[in-house]
């Protein structure tokens, strides 16, 4: 999968964080009816674990359910991270989420959700 969205240099860290929080919630909304809440959360946490070796600042997502994360928490955890690096990290997280979803269900539900998430991210910028 290619990068989902190109972020302009004018995007602030807060804007990027909020945008990705929104799409994570979108994934949650779409996947939960099929696989359940526990599986969806574990899927995102598993993705966070995989990318945290490259982007250690995302480590907090492994322990904390993303549904409980508010922008203020995200900003606190991500302070000091450049917008470019943050966008790359969150993009990698989304890619891993979809890779995991494909690993479980193949192409049953991942492609339409992927398209929707891409559209959502484009609209947010």
């Amino acid at each position: 999968m290619s990068n989902m969205s190109e972020h302009s240099s004018s995007d602030s860290r807060e804007q990027i964080a909020e945008a990705y929080l929104k799409v994570l919630r979108l994934i949650d909304d779409r996947v939960t009816p099929f696989l359940g809440k526990v599986t969806t959360r574990v899927l995102v946490q598993g993705a966070a674990k995989k990318v945290s070796s490259t982007y250690p600042f995302l480590h907090f997502l492994i322990k904390m359910p993303y549904t409980e994360i508010v922008p203020a928490v995200m900003q606190e955890q991500l302070s000091g991270v450049s917008t470019v690096e943050l966008a790359a990290a969150l993009d990698a997280l989304l890619q891993e989420c979809f890779a995991g979803l494909k690993e479980l269900t193949g192409d049953l539900i991942a492609p339409p959700i992927y398209d929707e998430v891409t559209r959502e991210l484009e609209q947010l910028h």
Binding site: L35, V38, G100, L104, T105
Partner: protein, 587 residues
Amino acid sequence: MESSVQSQTRPTESAYRSSHIQNGDRIAAIREEMEYLNTIGKSFVAAIDRFQVHRALLAALQELYSFAACSILLKGEPFDLSIIPCYPLSQAFLAAMIERIASAASVIDFPFVSVKELAIASYLDAPDELSIAQEQDKIGGTEICSFLSIPLTVENRIIGMLSLFDEREGTFDSELLKLTTMIADYAAVALENVRLRERETALWRQAEIGRQRLELIISSMAEGLLIANERGGITLLNLSARHLLAQARVDLKQEIPLRELATSSNVSWLPRLVEIIDQGLKGETVMNQELIAGEAGESVPLTLSISAAPLHDTSQSRSRPIGVVAVLNDVTANKQIEKLKDEFVSVVSHELRSPLTAIKGYTQHLIRRIERRLRKTQQEYLQQGKAITTADIPESYDLRSLSIVQSQADHLERLVNDLLDLSRVQWGKLHLHYSSFYLADVLSESVRSVQASAEQHTIYLDIATQDTSIVADKMRLSQVIGNILDNAIKYSPHGGQVMVKLEKQTDEYLVSITDQGIGISPEYLDHIFERFYRVRNTASLQYSGIGLGLYVTKAIVEGHGGRIWVMNNEGLGCTFSFTVPATGRSD
């Protein structure tokens, strides 16, 4: 208006009919789905082992899809992977399945497991009917073209993963994914129930093995073991206890309270046993209580030593005991040895006394003769006008030697007397000869006597009462005071003060003797009055004695109906106290 209304009404009725038909279809679909879920739910609930869960799962999934195989990977140490084929599978297909399972497991945060480990742990749970197909040589393809993995969750925990595989493309349907997840949920709960049931069975087996082992230990114990319930009825008697208590000729193990059995039977020792059990039921721990369970008239009857402790319900803190556990030891052999020892001591001390009396008598006689001779010699020298001291006369050396013999004979006599007193106490023959006298006089005499040979010490006598008249055994009370005073002097090697105090309390006198000596270590305080007991510390090793003085002293005091005890003073020495009734023993 009317036509307009009519024209408006017609489409509405049509829409209503259409909606009604749609609702009917929806209700029928829901009913069908519910019936389906009810059917599979029942089959999962009825499953009592994992193989039945596998069968139920396979049946439910085959209602939805036609596929090659499914697998269940369960978390645990070690992993548990069951592969359930719908038809015979090729080795290549199985290998591809395991590879895909390992890959999917990594996505849902399963502990890492390699393909090799999974292959080793995998178990092929093929339905029986597949054996027929295998005979017909119908083996499936080698490549996985469709797959689906759904985590198995119970109460927000992922316990495993269900995976479905097929060799054809497009086998699984997103429309049926929710239903498949629902089936996975059923399977997860059923598997968790099976796991809990297996755990319960394993724990039960473990408990049963523990119970059997405990029963074996209890039945093999050389010591008798008795357990009584909260009413004092015996609920358990091991083999040894049954043998030891066989002389009762009463069925003790019938849960009838021992108190009732003691009343209705004429077993002489049952009341004593009741007493011990009752103490345990009051929450007290009793140690080494003697119970003579033998026949009257036996020279050494069967003697048991019983220790009992309360049993508390561990689920309730600070509760009343729910029973008592008692351990019985046969100490008859010890009693026999003790009896032989007592007899030996009694005989030896009697036999020693006769030659000792002769030694003392002749020594006394020789001392007097030499003293006379010395006086005579001195007078002869004086008459000759020569000045001479006793030390210049050779016989004075003989006198000194004889004095040592006399002193040692006195010491030996005291030891023999102690041994004789021990025998008397042991045989219950320590007879007291009561007479009226003044206790103050006995104390004064004893203090004077001991002070004469204790130059380093100062003994004070404090008589804190006007009336000191008493009815008691004068000689024995003098022995008591002498023994305690001797100890006070002996264990105060650097001298110091010894305070003897006499007080009157209601019907008894209290005598306390306080020294400034080495004191007694707290761990020895409880044993100090036991026979042949000597405090074993380096400080007391240098002091002579055989550990009978305080034993006899206690017997004399208790023979009078009094009490004796000892306490360490704060800082220095200890205080021995005893009471003695003023008017003789009340009972």
